[in-house]
Amino acid sequence: MNKRIILSLAALLGAALCLNAQSFQEGFFLRNYNLAYQYNPAFVGDNDFLSAGKLGYSIRNNVGAGSFLFPDGGSLLTGLNSSIPAETFPGALPENSRIKGMMDISLVSYGFRRGDAFHTIELNLRGTADVSVPKEVFGFLKQGTGVGTVDLGRFHVEDNVFAELAYGYGHKVNDWLSLGARAKLLVPVQGAGCDITRLDVTASQELLLIGFRGRLDMTGSPDKKKRFWLNGGGLAVDLGIVATPAEGLTMSLSLLDLGGMFWHYGKGYSSVGSFAFKGFDKLGSDQLNGQYLKDYFLEKGMDFVKSLKPMQQRSWWEWQWLPVQANLGIKYEMPFYRRLALGATGRYLGCAGLPYWEGRFGLEINPLDWLDMTGNFGKGSQGLVYGFAAAVRICRFRLTAGYQNGCSGTVPYSSVSIGPNFKSMTLSLTYDL
């Protein structure tokens, strides 16, 4: 494989914590949040604004540190410790251990109110990363093979980054109903995916046999001379409806990212092969030393790499759906104190392989005109969740920050969750025009 491929693979793995666009649902509760239309395009803003920076990320994982580490008295044991039974590790792991990350960077956003309509134009950069490791890998390390074949296939690593040019339109139909939609032009920027569909290991007294089938695909021009290359394109829409049937009561329903895009993988490599090791071949007495054996195994390692025999594949197109989001929200301003609102939100995220749902109760307080705070607590498909956000308006600037996390706890001095978890963060800055 050439250097570029190796670097792409390394970047792919390093980007595992790179993340995707997630609607900032705390924005539903914040009154000073200009970008609420991203949660529901039917939200009609009161003022024109310009935004030159928004960063959001989320990470979801169906396994946490607690799937691999086990407290035992005063010690912390790994799953590979002999004290941990196989039923616990890897028995309790899901079929595939997955980490899925999403990123959303808003490069520029412009919104303007004209009569009952609110228009938004924005340019975003969004990305996803996904790593999936099959349970059999840990089973092989824990239990070995005895005499038999172990299938370690179903590895998957992927990252995609695409640009999004969106136009949004929200319209107050009447005093209590608003409708909105956003049309998004999607342009793939960079994508790569690696799948290992077969990795059989057969270990017996006569033979160690490894069978392999895998594929690596990357976007890019198959012709090195072409400096500019389109990696595909697509469309998506957001739809929303906001209703305020009674004073202080707001209800929101939105469907986001209905659509997808074509990806053109200009560079692809596939590998099918097998490697057999039958032991030493006439090892002599003068070769029974550490250095020779080390060199011997290094040579066998290189033979294994050569057996992978990557073959260049023709470029191909693939349609990928965006992970659709459905958001539902309701909030009610307390009649005795309008600056306090209680509410609830629900969300469904249809990511392939790791769908997500949650429901939360939320509270919002707006003690000062320039300060909003909100907090929420609920339960999702990966356990209990909580979140909080604040929006501050200073002169014409509005700074918003929000954080969501699960309740499984973290490993001390790190942000690694103990159990399956969902975590996200959003930071944005807008300027009222």
Partner: protein
């Protein structure tokens, strides 16, 4: 309101808290892989031959002093010895009338020509293709005849009785003038005789010399009648090998270091085939592994089998011995192995008695494989 906000932050603080039970400072790094076992092929090792051993500086020197190898590797014991010299001037001095022909007699002379073959006899091996010659160098520039006989015998090294004895008459044999190493005896010992020629003698030997020897000496530097014996023999396995080192000297210990203690193995098994082209049966008995800085037997280690019999073979028909060696710790893990103690016995291999010893014979390990049960442990704190 005043109560609500602190409550909210308390909930958030509890929900996002670090779980001290997962503090990585407490992490036990002990990891055991392949707990249910794993088998791996180890392949072939060797062959380990005498030819390989002869490349060692010390051992090679010792071996080259004892025997040689023919082009095909067959071991041959060869010896050449000048066992008697008779100076012409001594004959002249003892002659009654030096100017006249004379018959000169010498006392019986004998030698043991078997060279290094004798060492092999002590170990129980047999000789094969034995050949003896006797030569006479004539320093006189005139031919003469000799008389008497040459007698040679082989001794049974167990009973010390003659296993073979023969006498050849030398009467009337002519020795050419000024000749070097004239063969006066050349005999291939019958194959039925498997003991080395231990005695070669001249009996009633006499020279029938011409007169006036003084003027017929070939050169002043070479005025001796020289008797030389030559011996060569291959070594065969035979049927007498019974070298029980264990009974003689007890178990022998071989020290080495196999650092497997760090991997916390409980039960390891190595299976292989020993392929031997050496025409001997080797019995390893009372096999024990040694452990510790001062290598000593470890009662907590069980080694099976305790006795191993390696079948003999030949280059044409190697002998195969399947072996499954299992090392099991009766408590805890297998520590570093620092040696092995074993009783050694060599005996004849049935069917290979006539096989000649060769430098190319040796032992190979074929189709070796290892099976680990209980896993391999790394990072143990013990």
């Amino acid at each position: 309101m005043k109560r609500l906000i602190p409550l909210l932050f308390s909930i958030l603080a509890i929900a996002g808290c670090e779980n001290q039970a997962y503090d990585l400072d407490r992490l036990d790094k002990e990891v055991t892989l392949f707990e249910d076992g794993i088998a791996v092929p180890l392949g072939n090792v060797g062959p380990f031959t005498l030819e390989l051993a002869s490349k060692s500086e010390t051992l090679g020197k010792v071996m080259s002093n004892l025997f040689q190898a023919e082009s095909d590797g067959t071991i041959v014991c060869q010896g050449s010895e000048e066992f008697y010299r008779l100076n012409v001037y001594e004959v002249i001095a003892k002659s009654e009338n030096p100017s006249q022909p004379t018959t000169f007699k010498i006392f019986d002379k004998s030698t043991s020509p078997f060279a290094a073959a004798g060492m092999f006899m002590m170990l129980g091996f047999s000789t094969a293709d034995q050949k003896i010659t006797m030569e006479l160098t004539n320093p006189v520039r005139e031919a003469f005849t000799i008389g008497g006989s040459a007698e040679y015998s082989c001794t049974n090294t167990m009973t010390y009785e003659p296993a073979f004895k023969e006498t050849k008459s030398l009467d009337g044999m002519s020795i050419p003038s000024s000749s070097d190493k004239v063969k006066i005896l050349e005999r291939s010992i019958p194959d039925t005789v498997t003991y080395a020629v231990s005695n070669l003698s001249l009996k009633d030997f006499s020279f029938s010399l011409p007169g006036d020897l003084m003027n017929k000496i070939r050169s002043s530097s070479s005025a001796d009648f020289v008797f030389t014996s030559n011996y060569s023999s291959h070594i065969a396995a035979g049927d007498r090998i019974n070298f029980d080192l264990a009974s003689l000297l007890g178990s022998i210990s071989v020290f080495f270091k196999l650092p497997i203690g760090a991997y916390c193995l409980e039960d390891a098994e190595v299976s292989f085939e020993l392929q031997s082209t050496v025409p001997m049966q080797v019995t390893l008995s009372d096999l024990k592994l040694l452990t510790g800085e001062m290598p000593a037997e470890n009662p907590e280690l069980e080694v099976t089998p305790g006795t191993l019999v390696i079948n003999g073979g030949s280059l044409e028909k190697p002998g195969v011995t399947p072996v499954t060696l299992r090392i099991k710790s009766l408590s805890g893990f297998i520590p570093d192995i620092t040696g092995v103690k074993v009783g050694l016995k060599l005996s004849s291999a049935p069917g290979y008695e006539k096989t000649l010893l060769s430098m190319k014979q040796g032992i190979s390990v074929k189709s070796a494989s290892g099976t680990l049960r209980g896993g391999i442990t790394f990072g143990s704190n013990e």
